[in-house]
Structure formats: structure tokens, C-alpha cells
Amino acid sequence: MRVIHPFTGERMEEQLKLIIESLLFSADKPLLVKDIQGCLPGREPREIVEALETLAHEYDAMNRSFSLKEVAQGYQIRTKPDYGPYVLRMMKRSATRLSPASMETLAIIAYKQPVIRQEIEQFRGVDTGGILRTLLERNLIRIMGRKHLPGRPLIYGTTRKFLEVFDLNSLESLPKLKEIKEFGIGEIQATQTHENKTPEASAVQEEAVETDPSPTDSGS
């Protein structure tokens, strides 16, 4: 069966875009460029990415209830948050929820992976066995192996599904931490010397540094 007609120029591009749209429309998971290419022999990944970008822009311009999102390195049509409550009503289910404790545990794993349970518990100061099990069951985290330590503890990391659920393209697209990240003990001492500094003040330090050369009081 011939699917693609040897159109030329604009019309061919239009056709390519619509074919890709039909794939996205009917897919039940984010489609990788590779997946799309598999259905379109002879097409370059670059052409496919361009068509995807065009589609994304078109949806935005049309102001639809959905948009084309890039998640877990793939592409997926998703509804916009404004319409979530109605979709839930249609599905007769409540929103997927994670408890604050699960969220914290998941956050540690996401940012610190590969990580072992002991490290997670150090962070949170409480036992996390039950939470880890739940997160494993929900396929948000996975066991990556065992560490060469006494007891051979399990190493945890996040899954592809985690990226999908949290609207992330890759782990690199996790929101950047507000610089407490490198707080080794040395930095705490450094901050301590500025006796009057509150933690809030130090948290905005980074931004302050960037805007420093043009202070507002220079005008008057």
C-alpha cells in the first residue's frame, strides 16, 4: 500500500505534517521521532522535527484546548490544564495524587539519582520503605542495581514514565534548584560570616549578583 504520494514542494510538506498529525492523534504514548520515521520511509529526522514544530505552532496559534508537548524525548498531544477538571469528570475519576511524603521522596530520587534508600532517609529524616514501594508500583521509579556496600543496597532512579507524568523532556529539564544545591559545609560557614543575612536573602543572592551592576538607586 502506498501511503505517501510523491508530491513536491509545499504540498508535500503539508502532507507530511498531516500524516504526522494523524499518528500523534491516534498514538497512546509519546511518539519518538524514530517512531514517526518508521512510518515514513525515506524521510529525514530533520524534516519530521520541522513538521512537528510547525504543528506545535499551529495548535498554539489556533488556541485549541490541547497542545503538542515534548515529553520524555517524544511528542504527544495533551489537553491544557484549564480543561483537566472536565476531562476528569468525563472519566469519572479523581485526579492522580501523590502525598507530600511521596513527592519529597520522588524529588530526592529525581535530583540525586542514582541514590540508595539510606541517602533518601538521611534527607527526609524518616523511614521511606513504604513510599518507595508505592512509587515502584506506580512505575515512577525503578531499581537500577545494587551498590557495592555492605548489605548491597538497592539503587533507585526515575523511569521514563516519571518524565511523562511530570511533563519533562529529560532529566536535564528538571527545574533548576535554587542554588542551595552546592551548599556544602564550607558555604554555610561563608554565609554565616554575613551574620545578618537571612536564608531568604541568600536564596536570592544569585539573582542579585546578575543585576548588581545596574542598581536602581544610581538614577537619583
Partner: protein
């Protein structure tokens, strides 16, 4: 003993409680008034004890750490401050890390979460993960009872539940569950209670389900702790006119 009313907040762990005390007292995390915080921390543990709540070991470890720091702060000869480390760092650092963690969790929670804020095609099935639909036979009677109670409560919440004379028989319900499964060999636990309005009907349907499990005509399983309980047919197309053979056992 005094009578007093307390509004008890639940803390995830010792760090959570400490952070709460620091915010409540509006003190600088880099200059924690260790005596005050320690006293309040211990008072809180007392309170937990007086309410006969079990106190996790983690809370006690932190209590001893706090007391230890407090005693070190009281020791004389800390004049050469530049050389000796502030004993409070022992809790400042974990606290900072914990604050950062809360921040990370908040960032994650604020994203456009699939299944909460945004939706994609076929999302319902892709999220609940029925790994290859392998029946997991680990549903206990208690889990079933729980699920049943939830359904009754939900219906009750809608104010639609009336109690009246028995109009339902286990036999009828067995037939209707079987016919549901004939249409679709794999259904959710809730599905068999559709359009039920009266509590007796719920109960009879539930008994019918137990009966069917007993006869080995359906399998009940739950793919994971938090997912919905599912029922699958274990009979062939023609097979079940079954009921009627041993019908002595109606409720």
C-alpha cells in the same frame, strides 16, 4: 493534670517538626536559639507521649542531638570561634537540605501533571499500569471488603441510598455478574455495582461475587496496591449456566 485542648499538627519527621518550630519562632536558620528550640521540641514529644501516640525513633535521635548541641553551646572556652565549628551546624545543614528538598518537591508538584492537570489519549489505561494484565491473585478478603465499603460510602454520600425490603437474590446477581463478564471478560470491581441504589442490593451483589470466586468462575486481582480491583472471567463462552447446581447456599 490540666485539661487543655490541643490542635496537633502531624509532622513527617523530626526535620519537619524542627522546621516548623523555626518558622513559628521566626528565627534565622543560621542562628538558631538552640535552648528555645530544644525546649519546644521536647515539649512536643511530651505532648505526643501524653496523647499516647507512638514516637518514632527518629524523633528521639533528633532530641538527643539537640540536647547534645545545647550542652556543647554551654561549654566555656568557645572564644576562638574561627577555629571551632559551630555545633549547631550539625542540624543547620540537614535543615537546609530538607528545605531544599521541600522546594524540589514543590517544583515537581506544580508541574502540569499527567492525570491531574493534563490528559493524553488513552491515558487512563496507560497510567494505572496493568503490567501485561497478569492476574495478581493477591487480593485478600479484607481488600475486597474495603473496596466494597468505599463504594457504599460513595453512594451514600450522594444521598441516594435507601434501605428497604429485600428484593434481590444472590442467584440473580450471580447471573448478572456472569452476563457482564460475558460481554467483557475483564471488568472493574465497581462495574458490578452500577446503578445500585439500595444497600441490600449492594450486599447481595457482593455475596454473589464471593460465591462466584468460591466456585472458581471468576478471578479477582489488583495489579498494584493503589489501582482498582479487577475481575476476570474463568469460564468458557458456553459453560456457565452453572448456578442452580448447588444453590443451597444463598444468604
Amino acid at each position: 493534670m490540666m485539661d487543655y485542648e490541643v490542635k496537633l499538627e502531624m509532622f513527617e519527621g523530626p526535620l519537619d517538626l524542627l522546621l516548623h518550630l523555626i518558622h513559628k519562632n521566626e528565627v534565622d536558620i543560621f542562628d538558631i536559639p538552640i535552648a528555645t528550640i530544644t525546649d519546644q521540641y521536647l515539649a512536643y514529644l511530651e505532648l505526643m507521649k501524653s496523647l499516647e501516640m507512638s514516637i518514632a525513633g527518629d524523633f528521639l535521635v533528633m532530641a538527643s542531638t539537640l540536647i547534645h548541641i545545647k550542652s556543647r553551646m554551654l561549654l566555656p572556652g568557645r572564644s576562638d570561634e574561627d577555629e571551632e565549628e559551630d555545633p549547631r551546624l550539625e542540624i543547620t545543614r540537614p535543615l537546609l537540605e530538607y528545605m531544599q528538598l521541600k522546594e524540589m518537591a514543590k517544583e515537581l508538584a506544580e508541574r502540569e501533571i499527567l492525570g491531574r492537570d493534563v490528559f493524553a489519549r488513552n491515558y487512563a489505561t496507560s497510567f494505572d499500569e496493568y503490567p501485561d494484565m497478569v492476574p495478581n491473585p493477591d487480593v485478600t478478603l479484607f481488600q475486597l471488603m474495603d473496596a466494597f465499603r468505599r463504594i457504599v460510602l460513595r453512594e451514600e454520600g450522594q444521598g441516594n441510598l435507601k434501605v428497604s425490603l429485600e428484593k434481590w437474590s444472590v442467584k440473580d446477581k450471580v447471573e448478572s455478574i456472569i452476563s457482564l463478564l460475558r460481554e467483557k471478560p475483564d471488568i472493574f470491581f465497581e462495574d458490578i455495582f452500577k446503578e445500585h441504589r439500595e444497600i441490600s442490593e449492594f450486599v447481595v451483589t457482593f455475596l454473589a461475587l464471593l460465591e462466584l470466586v468460591h466456585m472458581g468462575l471468576i478471578k479477582v486481582f489488583q495489579p498494584s496496591q493503589e489501582s482498582r480491583i479487577r475481575l476476570t472471567a474463568c469460564f468458557d463462552e458456553g459453560d456457565p449456566s452453572v448456578y442452580g447446581g448447588e444453590d443451597g447456599r444463598t444468604a
